[in-house]
Each structure stands twice: as C-alpha cells, then as structure tokens.
Amino acid sequence: MRESTKMLIHYITGFAILITGAIHLIASNLKTLEWIKTTPLYPVSQGIFLATVLYHALNGLRVILVELMPGYRSGKIISYTLLILGVILFVFGSYVLIILFGER
C-alpha cells in the first residue's frame, strides 16, 4: 500500500473517530438521549469506533517509530509488528463488543 493511501485512511479514520466517539459520549452521558444505545446501529457505530481508533493510533505510532528508527528493514518490521498487534486487538475488542451487545 502506498504511503498516500495509508495517510488518507489515517485522516478519514480521524474524522470517523470524531463522529463515532461523539455518539458514544452523548449516549453515555446525556440521559435524554440514552435511547440511542437501544438502536441496532449503536453496536455498529461502536465497532467502527474500535476499528478506526485502532488504525489511527497504530498508524500514528508507526509514523513516529519510522521517523525515530529510519531504515528499509526497520520500517518493514515496525509495520508488520503493528499490523499483527492491530489484528489481535481488533479480534479481542470485537469479542468484548459481541459479549456486551449480544446479551441484549
């Protein structure tokens, strides 16, 4: 994947975090809008929130590490390590979400 594609996804996920994070905060803190949590789209938005936060955070970490440890080989190692870490965290996060919303 080209760097421009990675960075475009980074910016899009940043915007998505803003929206899905706002939905989560509003639904959790405003009693008048608590009904949002009961809609079927709420678990979907939380799933998107999980995926976008993971991509945005881990790609941000990759950018920092790639700058601090420049080199073709170190770049590959950093990218694949973070990709594996991201997949593990996504699977674990999705499992938690399924348990949480599956009970309802």
Partner: protein, 261 residues
C-alpha cells in the same frame, strides 16, 4: 562608524580532532559589513586556517549557509549590526556532517535531490532529444510554480527541519520543493516517475508542517507550502486518478526565431 564586535566561531577538523572548540575573534565592522565579510577578515588577518565555503557574495549561489546566533542564515546576506548583538556565534549548519569548521557536507542532500528527478520529464522522448518547437505556457501556469523555482539550494531549510534531525532518510524540504516545482510545471508529465520516491515511507508524508523551513528561507520560497501542495497533487492523481494540471502540447512555432534588421 565602526564598532568592535566579538565573533565566537566553531572550529573543528573531524579528521584530526575529537572535540570541537570555539575561538574568539574581534573584528571592526561598519553598517554594511556582512558576517561573510567579517569571517573573511578574520581569515585574512587573524586565522588563515578558518574554513569557509562561499562564492557569489550576493545570496545567489547558496554556498555560505551557516548558523548565525543559533539561526540558519546566509553569511553574505546577514549584516553584522542588524543582528543587534555584541557577541556573534557562528557555527556550521545543523543536520549535516561537518567537513571542517563552517563547511558542511551536502552530498547526501544532493543524492536525495537526484532521486526525485529534478528536471522536465515528458512522454515524447524524441521531441525532448531533438526539439522541433517550443512549449508555450500561460501566465497562470507559470505562476503555479514560479515561487518554488527561486530555490538556490542553500540547504538552510533542511537544516532547520525538525523531521530531518530525527529521520535521516526523510527527503527534506529542499528536495520535496524541487519535486513539486517540476511536477507542477505544465510542460512536465513526470509525477508518476517521481511517485516511488516522494510517496514513500520517508517522502512528503513525513512533513508535519512545522514550517521551520519557510521561516529560514532567504529567498521566500516557502517549501512548507510546496510540500502541502505536493500532498494534494499526489492524493488527487494517485488516489482519485485525476489531475488538475493541463499538460501543454508542443507549439508548431519554430524553436528559435530571432531576426535583426
């Protein structure tokens, strides 16, 4: 009116010394004396071993870039009294290997520059080799890159860049500005050939827009802006498969038509 100013100059010869030293010199300067004039006076009258690189003395060649009172400046373009300081600290540009004293090694920067193919690239190779006409540009097409063509390759921007100081593989503002200058040129269709380098892990996306490069540029080039424009150009051409740029076609007008009465 002449005034005596103290110069603290960085002295270091990496081939025979382990640690650098600072030497103090006193120089009489007047209103028009530049830092380069003062350094040459030191070299002529006090310390012939002082190494300085310079050429044109009028901010065109970009050879005399150095840190003057902690900021990247051209020595020939900086008047001593304008610094408003009794002690002037002069040291080599940061982010570059030191050859000797105030002379730094630009070879890595120039090899990065070569990697972005800083020249007009066109698909009509035969016409490039044996031109039969000329490429006419509209004024707005010229203005789209004219500011960025003023770069004199003094390397001050790359010395000021915080990303260059951490990531030695980062292409640097000077090189990315050069890549944009040619990619934005309506006679050029070579962006696709530059993409593997400028759209890489250490390419234009590592610029975090600190804009330190633009603040030290002695020619007002604004490399920070050209890097952002380069990001936009790459996004529109690489991702959306769309370019705003019109590539000019060859004009049937003869290559050179000069006639005198």
């Amino acid at each position: 009116m002449e005034r005596k100013i103290q110069f603290k100059v960085f002295k270091f010869n990496p081939s025979i010394e382990v640690t650098p030293t600072w030497r103090v010199y006193e120089v009489e300067v007047d209103r028009g004396t530049t830092v380069l004039d003062a350094l040459l006076k030191i070299k002529e009258e006090q310390d012939p071993s002082l190494a300085i690189r310079y050429s044109c003395r009028q901010a065109i060649c970009g050879s005399c870039g150095m840190m003057i009172n902690g900021k990247q400046r051209l020595a020939c373009f900086t008047r001593v009294l304008e610094l408003n300081s009794k002690i002037i600290y002069v040291e080599p540009l940061s982010n570059y290997p030191i050859i000797r004293d105030l002379v730094t090694d630009f070879s890595e920067l120039f090899s990065k520059e070569r990697s972005v193919k800083p020249y007009i690239i066109r698909d009509d190779v035969e016409e490039m080799s044996n031109p039969t006409g000329m490429y006419l540009q509209k004024p707005d097409e010229l203005l789209s890159y004219l500011q960025f063509a003023d770069c004199i390759e003094c390397g001050l921007c790359s010395s000021a860049c915080p990303t260059v100081s951490t990531d030695r593989l980062f292409l640097s503002p000077m090189v990315l500005n050069k890549a944009y200058r040619f990619s934005a040129d309506s006679r050029d269709s070579g962006l696709v050939h530059r993409l593997p380098v400028i759209d890489s892990e250490h390419g234009c996306w590592r610029c975090h827009f600190a804009a330190a490069c633009s603040s030290v540029c002695p020619k007002g080039v604004d490399p920070a802006k050209s890097i952002q424009l380069l990001k936009r150009m790459i996004t529109s051409t690489n991702i959306f498969k769309k370019s705003r740029k019109r590539i000019v076609e060859i004009s049937s007008r003869p290559h050179v038509t000069l006639s005198f009465p």
